[in-house]
């Protein structure tokens, strides 16, 4: 099976060696904890930086990878988040040790992300997906000495492994009937022109959607997410929410678009339907949370719904704007949600509490962190001037543009959901900057610039994308057009 794992080049080599070196170096220097985390962080951040550099000219010619325009848009997002998290995690590593494992797994997880984007056949996609998933299982339960992270990790593993198995069965089914694993070679048709949902093709579609729906936290397969995100180390929550969960969705898309020639209508409508449910359940779940990380976790479910809504409109109604909004939302969500998780992590450490009600006045003591958190929240709620609005704008617009009742309904539901999300973001923002400084007795901990810089950079990214997104639009439009081409050139 030539090219099974895609034509991986220098990028993969850089990442793989980064993972090995980070693991080796940190493990060898285990006895000197400070040296261990410094080296681990530097090596993994270095590997991500090299990988990003290799994706852009003039170095791009060194490695022809299997990355298409979609990959060229999403891979840098994952890698950049990797750098941010590698820098941020140093704080956590200082206290807990195990830097070798942590950084090794982090690099492997991002390698999986890039690999999924690069892979050219179904099995390659699956293998990289599993690489990413297995690394994320370990990272979620990284604090194995505590009970809660292990429980959350267990729930996560069981549900996601089941999902992976279902997806694999879908892949196997398509191989069985067509003898090929190349994406785009299968060409099944479902719906009006093709066979029905009970055919092997229909079964493969259902298995893939359900299997990867678990990873992308599509309701009703979302139950693992709040536990996993809220007990994982903040850096891990950030990157999981920022790109790993999205990759579940992108993998679903890649497999389905690769296997079906006219997946358009039924799959698109299914996505739109699931999207509305997912965002509503996510937002309603977040409304009652008192734990800041749990609240952000539920909000991640809701935000996945927006991506599904945009993509569903693209596939079901043939709207380029929906695809554009959806892909853009992956980028904006990566910056705002990662920013929020990282800032929340710092606040939790500084105040010694995860309870939002006890964070009263924290903004006066930690203005920078709280500022980033507020900016991220405004962005997540879709207030203009912040990144989230720019991507949601296309999603809102696509549905209204379609001129169909379904599209308009999905758009209006998306708008109402944004409104609903203010129900939990606003109180958080109000509490943070409340006048009386009555925050809980602070657990003073020294802070290094390594932890603050990624948070501030993400905050600025949110503002920048919200006010002047022009620099990323060329790559975004290419990615959106490419995805539309996969849909059959609509």
């Amino acid at each position: 099976m030539k090219g099974m794992v895609g034509n991986t080049g220098a990028v993969m080599a850089a990442l793989a060696s980064g993972a090995v070196v980070a693991f080796a170096v940190s493990t060898l220097t285990r006895s000197k904890r400070a040296l261990s985390w410094v080296l681990g962080g530097l090596v993994s951040a270095g590997a991500f930086t090299v990988a990003i550099a290799l994706l852009f000219p003039p170095y791009r010619s060194w490695n022809y990878m299997g990355l298409d325009e979609l990959g060229l848009f999403l891979a840098p997002v994952g890698l950049a988040l990797g750098i941010a998290v590698a820098g941020y995690s140093t704080r956590y590593m200082r206290e807990s040790g195990g830097a070798g494992r942590y950084y090794g797994l982090l690099v492997l997880m991002v390698t999986g992300v890039v690999g999924i984007l690069a892979a050219r056949d179904t099995l390659g996609v699956y293998l990289y997906f599993e690489l990413m998933s297995v690394s994320s299982y370990c990272l979620v339960s990284f604090r194995k000495e505590d009970r809660a992270p292990v429980d959350a990790g267990l729930k996560y593993v069981v549900l996601n492994a089941t999902g992976s198995t279902l997806a694999l069965m879908g892949i196997a089914l398509s191989y069985l009937y067509t003898g090929s694993t190349a994406l785009g070679a299968v060409g099944w048709a479902i719906g009006p022109q093709g066979s029905g949902l009970l055919s092997p093709g229909g079964l493969a579609l259902a298995l893939t959607v359900a299997g990867l729906g678990v990873k992308s936290a599509m309701v009703p397969f979302h139950t693992w997410l709040p536990d996993a995100y809220s007990y994982a180390p903040a850096g891990v929550s950030a990157i999981m929410s920022g790109i790993v969960t999205e990759m579940g969705f992108i993998t679903m898309l890649k497999l389905i678009l690769g296997e079906f020639s006219h997946p358009s209508r039924p799959f698109g409508y299914l996505l739109m339907f699931m999207a509305v449910i997912t965002m509503t359940v996510g937002n309603l779940g977040a409304l009652s949370q008192k734990d800041i990380k749990r609240m952000l976790s539920y909000s991640s479910i809701a935000q996945m719904g927006y991506m599904m809504a945009g993509m569903g409109m693209g596939i079901g109604l043939g709207l380029l704007d929906g695809v554009r909004g959806s892909l853009f939302h992956v980028l904006t969500h990566a910056s705002m949600k990662a920013g929020a998780f990282l800032a929340a992590g710092l606040l939790i450490d500084a105040l010694g509490t995860r309870d939002i009600r006890k964070m009263q006045g924290a903004g006066h003591r930690y203005p920078v962190i709280s500022g980033v958190l507020v900016v991220s929240c405004l962005s997540l709620a879709g207030i203009p001037g912040f990144a989230g609005f720019m991507s949601k704008w296309w999603i809102y617009r696509a549905g209204l543009e379609s001129g169909t009742g379904t599209g308009a309904f999905v758009s209006i539901m998306a708008i109402l959901n944004s409104l609903c999300s203010l129900g939990y973001y606003l109180p958080l923002m109000f509490i943070l900057f409340k006048k009386e400084k009555r925050a809980e007795a602070p657990v003073e901990s020294s802070r290094t610039p390594w932890e603050i810089v990624p948070v501030v950079v993400l905050g600025f990214a949110v503002l920048f994308l919200g006010l002047y997104p022009v620099p990323v639009l060329k790559v975004l439009d290419a990615a959106a057009l490419r995805t539309m081409a996969l849909l059959g050139g609509m």
């Binding site: 704008w393 209204l400 708008i415 109000f430 006048k435 997104p469």
Partner: protein, 486 residues
Amino acid sequence: MSRETLLIGGVLPGFVAALSALFLKRAPKLTRTITLGALGLSAGVLGCLAFSTGASVTKLSYPWIPSWGISFGLKLDALSAFVAATVAFMGFVDLIYCFGYTKPEEVGSSFYGWISLFVASMIGVVMSTDLMQFYFLWELMLIPSTALIVYWGTGKNPEATGFKYFIITHVGALMILISFLWIMNATGTSDMDLIAGRLAALSPGVLTTMAVLLLGGFAVKMAIVPFHIWLPDAHSEAPLPVSVLLSAVMMDMGIYGMLRFLLGVFPSGILQSLSLPVMIFGVISQWYGGLEALGQTQMKRIAAYSTISQMGYVLFGIGSFTRTGVSGSVLHILNHGLAKALLFMTVGSVIHATGAHDLDEVGGLGRKMPLSALFGITAAFGLAGAPPLSSFHSEWRIFAGGFDSGRTTVSVMAVACSVLTAYYALRMIIRMFFGPGTGHENARESPPAMLAAMAVLALSSVLIGFVPRPLSVLVDYAVKTLGLGG
């Protein structure tokens, strides 16, 4: 200097002052002075521009997100010049009042920063040339005002008030957003100068829906009944200088939006079909606000409810869709601002002197605070539209517009509300300043800064009342830009 340069000079200072507040955390007094200077500069420049505008149009436009066809720019015609100058002027006067009313050490630099951002974003809204830009600045307005209500609010639970304010006005904004997205999809452009021509091709049903969405969205900002529920709490529990801005200035944004988008963009057939319902909503707001104001004893709440009532007047004028009525509503933007700011400031003087918020706790303050009493009376007569004062001209035009439109019954009801307005406004002033005293022996006349701000407003009101000509020329040009030149 060219008009374009001046235009930037009118818009930018507020934003610069807001930014400087970020770096001057330790120097609230300096920030206050900078903000005053910035808003003064803005007001001066925009005022000069407004009176020299006439029928001319000054427009600046820069590409923003070219591949999405979105630009941002500044456009000055008679209408935007008039409203922007009003906003800057009121902001400036309000800041003078702040010099006496708030202590910089207590409120901190950020208070002034938020105020100047608030005013600057309102000026920006008025000057917008692009739907997207308009929406951005429209929502930007919400952030500083919410921050001011929540973090400096005086009520029992400022968070709840701020939450209600944010959510409800955001619902209005989302209605506007839906309509904007629809317009952009239907016309393929977000340039405000182009959409009017392209919308005419759409079917009346679609146009009516778009217009109703916009009407609803802007009515939320104007606090027209039944969208008024955010207003009484927000306006009465905000710190007083902010109440002034909310009541006397921010409401104008809703009026401006209605004028610019409904009258300026939609074909007259659509508007005529909406005329009667809009007028009825106007009259309901007039009466509802007035009656509620009569039932309140808290001074700030009376002033707040009075805003609902006054916005009813304005909506009634707009709803007549006649040249006279609309010109009255445009003029009322300034006149209501003058009277309402003056009323809030009088209330502020009483609160400042006595610490009492309730009418039952005050009385007979006129002997100790004669100037405040005089300004209070001016404000009350101003609201009621008594002849020598400026509001007379605008209210007269609004009612005349109502009769012009041929809807006599509604118009009579609207006129009758003037009596109610006069009653509740005078009742409040009389109970504050006349009658038996209720303690407060230490009450003293307000500091000079507060009196100066009030004097500026009262004198403007009298001056415009006697010499309405320059303003009414400007307003007539403004109405002409809306295609109602007749």
